[in-house]
């Protein structure tokens, strides 16, 4: 029995030997893998901590941006109050200056008529005319005020035009807040993938910005080119080709669209280009 089974047993021994050899090699590989994981784990923990810290700061960043917008609005409202008050006073002054001259003229004419009727003495009459001329010149001295008043009113109008910057910068800030929110959403998704802790960061989210309430491409441009372009389009003339629109959807698409090329990430210049290089 033993002699006939010997080849079978030998085969099994060879197989066992091969398995032990493979096992030894696998053990070495597994040990190497454990060593690698041991090195990687602290790095992963550091990345996770850094991501959590960054996403945790984002609500504060958007709150600070909102504070800037609110402070601008308060200051602009105060300036508007002062400008409107100054315009009312200027208008009242202009009305007074414009009204004085005709009233003075009418009074002088009436006085001349009375003098003609009742003052015969030539010397007295001459003195009366001299006094009338001197008094008549006084209202006319208001005339040089009018250009000054017009200039002051024009300056106040230009202040009102410049105050439109508040609306424009508020939209630019809203666009930045929206971008921060988008970045935070993507970073949170990355943290969930690394740690499988889904939902733990929801309480620290950036307050969402309604994408319909701002124009990411808003500019404070006094050159008149934008209005000229709009006028050309409204009149049916062919305007020159310009930059593509930068909308909240472009900002979102930056993170959700397939990367161009092999896993190419968006660069800072790509993000800056969404804001027209501002």
């Amino acid at each position: 029995m033993v002699k006939s089974q010997a080849p079978h047993v030998m085969d099994r021994l060879h197989e066992l030997h091969a398995m032990f050899g493979a096992g030894q090699r696998a053990t070495a590989a597994v040990e190497e893998l454990f060593g690698f994981l041991g090195e990687i784990l602290p790095l992963m923990e550091e990345i996770d901590g850094s991501l959590r810290e960054s996403t945790g700061r984002m609500p504060l960043a958007t709150t600070q941006l909102q504070n800037v917008t609110e402070a601008n609005e308060v200051a602009t409202t105060e300036i508007l109050d002062l400008v409107e008050g100054a315009r009312r006073r200027l208008d009242a002054l202009a009305d007074y200056a414009a009204g004085e001259a005709p009233a003075g003229e009418a009074a002088a004419e009436r006085l001349r008529a009375l003098l003609d009727a009742h003052l015969a003495d030539p010397a007295a009459r001459a003195e009366a005319e001299r006094l009338l001329d001197a008094a008549h010149r006084a209202p006319a001295s208001n005339a040089p005020c009018m250009p000054t008043l017009d200039e002051a009113r024009d300056h106040l109008n230009r202040i009102l035009i410049a105050l439109q910057v508040q609306d424009i910068t508020a939209q630019q800030i809203a666009a930045v807040s929206h971008l921060i929110g988008s970045i935070q959403t993507r970073l949170k998704a990355l943290i969930y993938k690394l740690t499988a802790e889904e939902g733990t960061l929801d309480a620290d989210g950036v307050a969402p910005v309604n994408a319909d309430t701002f124009n990411a491409a808003a500019r404070y441009d006094r050159s008149g080119q934008a209005q000229a372009l709009a006028d050309d389009v409204m009149a049916g003339r062919t305007p020159p080709e310009g930059d593509g629109p930068s909308s909240p959807f472009d900002i979102d698409a930056l993170f959700s669209a397939p990367a161009p090329g092999a896993g190419e990430a968006a660069s800072q210049s790509d993000i800056d280009a969404l804001f027209g290089g501002a």
Binding site: I161, Q164, I168, D212, D221, V233, G244
Partner: protein, 122 residues
């Protein structure tokens, strides 16, 4: 002539109203977004609408479309005043059937020109 001024920024509404008063229009009502503006159409019966584009609840483009499909107010002149200055924006506004388009920041002179032009062709 009564103007309905629609903008979610109180500052911009004041600036537009000041500019309108400068050029002789003082009968003014205001709304903070498109939805509020639609309510004002029946309540205030304006003769002219000046609207921003980017607003919560209902933006200026949707407001324009709603007015143009309204039973009684479809004929109202509409001037859009907005920060959106791209060609595509102006085309979209034209397709929604605004009467004219002003890009912020604007001057009272531009506002007067556009209003005069709209009233002349109305």
């Amino acid at each position: 002539m009564k103007f309905l001024v629609v903008d979610d920024s109180p500052t911009m509404r004041r600036i537009v109203c000041n500019a309108l008063r400068d050029i002789g229009y003082s009968d003014l009502v205001e709304a903070g977004d498109g939805a509020e503006a639609l309510d004002q159409l029946d309540a205030a019966q304006p003769d002219f609408v000046i609207t921003d584009w980017n607003m919560p609840h209902m933006n200026g483009l949707d407001l324009t479309r709603s007015i143009r499909s309204h039973d009684r107010h479809a004929h109202l002149p509409i001037l859009m005043i907005t920060t959106r200055g791209m060609k595509e924006d102006v085309i979209a506004a034209m397709q929604a059937r605004v009467n004219n388009y002003v890009v912020k920041p604007f001057t009272p002179q531009v506002l007067r020109e556009k209003i005069d032009l709209i009233l002349k062709t109305a």
